[in-house]
């Protein structure tokens, strides 16, 4: 039986706590009385994933069995989530592969000749062939790549269609192949509550015109938080768009959930609470610490990015999107929810080496903000763990380091936009459209492996709520110039950061450390 998440109060006997520090790790001693929030232990995975998938497809929620929807001569499209999920990438076989193989088996049995598979990228970068092969598996890749298995291109005017406006006046666009199909099957992997549901189609197969309707400062500032869909304006907008899509095309959703076993056995100490560390875990920590202290960043990165997470399937549901997503969210919350009493003056977060937008690339400073203040800060329900005006302390080396292939627009965003202002609203008004319509960024997004020109803006908006909510933001161990460019304060050690924070929150503040990853959702009372 997996232990639920826990909030531990630091006393004299509490061991130092692990902080992620980019491509490194640190042990830090927290002040007495500080709280450490731990995620629940990984749930037991389903013993026979294939059987569970077959069962879900045979008995879908509020929909007909998939088999009855497939017929000879139909136009079938299967869309699936890209490599931004899960993190770290899942050890083979990926659950999407298992689901798609079952679906394709059924399609083959029904004699469906016209079948296409589309990676629903939205405005993310195109994946490499090897990355796609990892997600879909050898069998699907060899059968369909590249003419029937390909990636969504949100900037191809021929490949996308405008569907209409929602009741709130939001534009909706969709990949042409999906719009013209008799049936679209969406295969999703939900790691956090933000994923899945209507958002999958409304974002993954849309263009900039459709996505900007909810990826904007106003919507994101009203999403408190976007990790809890009922309170998220972002999700409300996606639901409106999704409903319009469902009026246009028949969609069958398949959503999967995994447990939070995010690290392989070699890095098991990252998975465990410090009080559970064995002698072997301590040795592994020491070994990794020494390695990460001396190894060059590029080498460390290649080692870290080679890690594959041994996630286990905890749920698979198929059928009508709302019914399916409700079940999916329930399964996700079972895995990551932790009850936390009250807010805190200071919240500390170790920012790891990997976020959704830097798979096989360094985490550049803009993505550090997106990860720390966008994703990790927003893992809450009801209200943030940090009180309004409190201090958020992140640990990350925060180097001036960009991947020119994946993040060309991020470089200009950092050099040009952040040099002018860090205010999300002003950035949106002055710069977003220019970057989004830049022909060079558009070309790189379409033909290379670059994120869309508007993507760094979204990464920044993602953190808008946290920047507005926090009184001060301190990055421990960061490059001073870079941190100042981001508009934050820099500290050398955690103790220094606490001292600096006292100037904002007063003496003897309450401190809470969110021990992520593995991820947790703080249900704050």
């Amino acid at each position: 039986m997996a232990r639920p998440g826990a909030v531990i109060e630091v006393d004299r006997n509490t061991p130092p706590v692990l902080f992620h520090f980019g491509e490194g790790v640190r042990l830090e001693k927290l002040p007495l009385g500080a709280r450490i929030v731990y995620p629940p232990d990984p749930l037991d995975p389903i013993a026979h994933p294939e059987r569970a998938i077959k069962r879900a497809l045979a008995k879908p929620l509020d929909d007909d069995p998939l088999k009855s929807l497939l017929r000879r001569g139909m136009k079938l499209t299967i869309a699936f989530d890209d490599l931004s999920l899960p993190l770290p990438p899942m050890a083979a076989p990926d659950v999407r592969q298992l689901v798609m193989e079952e679906v394709i088996d059924m399609a083959a049995e029904a004699g469906v000749e016209d079948i296409h598979l589309i990676a629903a990228l939205g405005l993310h970068r195109r994946m490499t062939a090897d990355e796609i092969r990892h997600i879909v598996g050898d069998r699907i890749f060899s059968t369909f790549w590249p003419d029937r298995l390909y990636q969504h291109d949100g900037e191809d005017p021929e490949a996308n269609v405008y569907i209409g406006k929602t009741s709130a006046g939001e534009d909706v666009t969709l990949h042409r192949r999906a719009a013209e199909s008799d049936l679209v099957i969406y295969v999703n992997l939900t790691l956090v509550p933000m994923d899945g549901g209507h958002k999958s189609m409304a974002t993954g197969l849309a263009t900039y015109r459709g996505i900007r309707e909810h990826h904007n400062v106003k919507t994101l500032m009203s999403s408190l938080s976007y990790m809890n869909p009922p309170d998220s304006a972002l999700h409300h907008s996606c639901i409106r768009q999704g409903q319009l899509i469902e009026d246009t095309v028949r969609v069958f959703h398949i959503e999967t959930t995994v447990n939070n076993r995010a690290f392989p056995s070699i890095a098991n100490f990252m998975q465990k609470r410090e009080t559970d560390w064995t002698a072997q875990d301590q040795a592994m920590f020491l070994g990794m610490k020494q390695f990460t202290d001396i190894a060059p960043p590029a080498f460390k990165r290649s080692v870290f990015h080679a890690m594959r997470a041994p996630y286990g399937l905890t749920g698979v549901h198929a059928g009508q999107v709302d019914a399916v997503h409700e079940k999916t969210l329930e399964a996700v919350r079972n895995q990551i929810s932790v009850r936390v009493e009250g807010q805190t003056d200071i919240v500390t977060i170790g920012v790891p080496y990997l976020g959704p937008y830097n798979v096989n690339a360094p985490m550049n400073p803009v993505l550090v903000v997106c990860m720390g203040l966008g994703y990790l800060f927003n893992f809450y329900k009801n209200k943030p763990v940090l009180r309004k005006g409190g201090v958020a302390i992140l640990t990350h080396p925060c180097r001036y380091e960009f991947d020119a292939v994946q993040h060309p627009s991020y470089i200009d965003f950092y050099d040009e936009v952040l040099a002018d202002t860090t205010d999300p609203q002003e950035i949106e008004t002055k710069y977003e459209l220019r970057f989004a319509e830049d022909p060079w960024f558009r070309q790189l997004y379409r033909k290379s492996h670059a994120y869309h020109g508007a993507h760094p803006f979204y990464a920044w908006y993602w953190a808008a709520h946290a920047m507005d909510h926090a009184g001060d933001i301190i990055i421990v161990g960061g490059d001073r110039d870079v941190v100042h460019r981001l508009g934050f304060k820099c500290a050398t050690t955690l103790e220094d950061a606490f001292e600096m924070a006292e100037q904002t929150v007063g003496r003897y503040p309450s401190v809470t450390h969110l021990r992520m990853p593995p991820i947790l959702l703080a249900d704050v009372e």
């Binding site: 083959a108 079948i115 069998r139 060899s142 059968t143 369909f144 003419d147």
Partner: protein
């Protein structure tokens, strides 16, 4: 007792001394370092040795040596130079009977690219027809190439019946055959007219032909270039084709040529490469016989091996049946036709 004392050491030094003495004796007797003595009678005309079919290259332990050479040297080199993208490998994954691979030919790199594309199981059972007048002009070169690539001499200049006989013997012995029906490397990289031999051989032996198209090999090593340059390559493998009952050799050759040309086109050609449903079924993973088995190991050993699942759809099942392999008169022929050893990896 030290290693250099005693009887063993004396015997070893004695053997080395004998060998040195023998060499010295021959050197003196046959005047290695001086002209041929005038007193010796004139040399008679040399009787040429009977042309070898290089059967030694298809026997153990040469097959194991070649397996190691290919896995350790040839395939990594090919991968590094060409990083070949292979499409349609599923058609040759589980070949249950010999086939003829008919490919376009624009470079010396073609053979290693084809072998790379085939996968371990099919590669281990494949011989390559190499031009006798080019590769086997110098016997040493021919033997080395055979060791590396399992080639056999294929005459381009005549003796069609004899050639057909030796090739069909190989097919009947269980070997797949790589043929380049153009006869020679293309001087300009384009596909040239196929010679009728491939259709003739397929018709005579009832063997299916697998069309292959190699794109990019000409850029790596065109005719006249002695060193390869790196470049991207795509190898596309088509659906096996069998001659129709009333189809002549020339018509069948024309059909094979058309298939290879079609494979060169973009995008994929379902008529030649098969529909996705056919390919999908072919790639179904084989179920392991011991999976979920509750029987003890001993019992499994004494029962007949279970039938492998997923073998309903075989690409070659509809092809004309081969005549039964002839009885092997001697042990040598039998070993040449030996099936792949169980120790060899079966899953490419």
């Amino acid at each position: 007792m030290t290693w250099y004392s005693g009887e063993g050491f004396s015997r070893l030094t004695g053997a080395v001394g004998d060998a040195v003495r023998d060499v010295r004796q021959v050197r003196r007797g046959w005047h290695w370092d001086s002209p041929r003595p005038r007193t010796w009678p004139e040399q008679g005309s040399v009787v040429p040795a009977r042309a070898s079919d290089l059967s030694w290259a298809r026997q153990e332990p040469v097959r194991t040596i070649r397996f190691l050479i290919q896995r350790g040297l040839l395939l990594p080199f090919t991968e590094a130079m060409a990083h070949p993208k292979v499409e349609g490998r599923e058609w040759v994954r589980d070949l249950e009977r010999p086939v003829i691979f008919a490919a376009n030919h624009s470079s010396h790199a073609d053979t290693s690219l084809i072998l790379h594309a085939l996968g371990d199981r099919a590669r281990d059972r494949t011989v390559v027809a190499a031009a006798a007048d080019y590769w086997f002009k110098r016997p040493l070169l021919g033997n080395i190439v055979s060791l590396f690539l399992n080639t056999f001499p294929f005459s381009r200049t005549g003796g069609a019946q004899a050639q057909l006989h030796s090739s069909s013997q190989l097919l009947k012995s269980g070997w797949n055959l790589v043929l380049f029906p153009e006869g020679s490397r293309s001087p300009d990289g384009r596909i040239h007219e196929f010679k009728a031999g491939v259709g003739h051989l397929a018709n005579e032996t009832g063997t299916p032909v697998v069309p292959l198209h190699i794109r990019g090999a000409y850029q790596i090593m065109p005719k006249g270039q002695s060193l390869p340059l790196p470049g991207p390559v795509r190898v596309r493998i088509g659906k096996p084709m069998s001659p129709q009952p009333d189809e002549g050799s020339r018509q069948f050759t024309a059909r094979v040529e058309k298939a290879v040309r079609a494979l060169a086109l973009e995008p994929a050609q379902p008529d030649i490469q098969g529909s996705w449903i056919e390919r999908w079924r072919l790639m179904k993973p084989r179920e392991l016989p011991y999976e979920e088995s509750t029987e003890p190991v001993q019992a499994v050993e004494t029962t007949t091996p279970p039938v492998k699942a997923g073998r309903k759809e075989r690409p070659l099942s509809t092809a004309r049946a081969l005549p039964a392999p002839p009885e092997k008169p001697d042990g040598r022929a039998r070993s040449a036709a030996a099936p792949p050893r169980a120790s060899r990896p079966k899953h490419p």
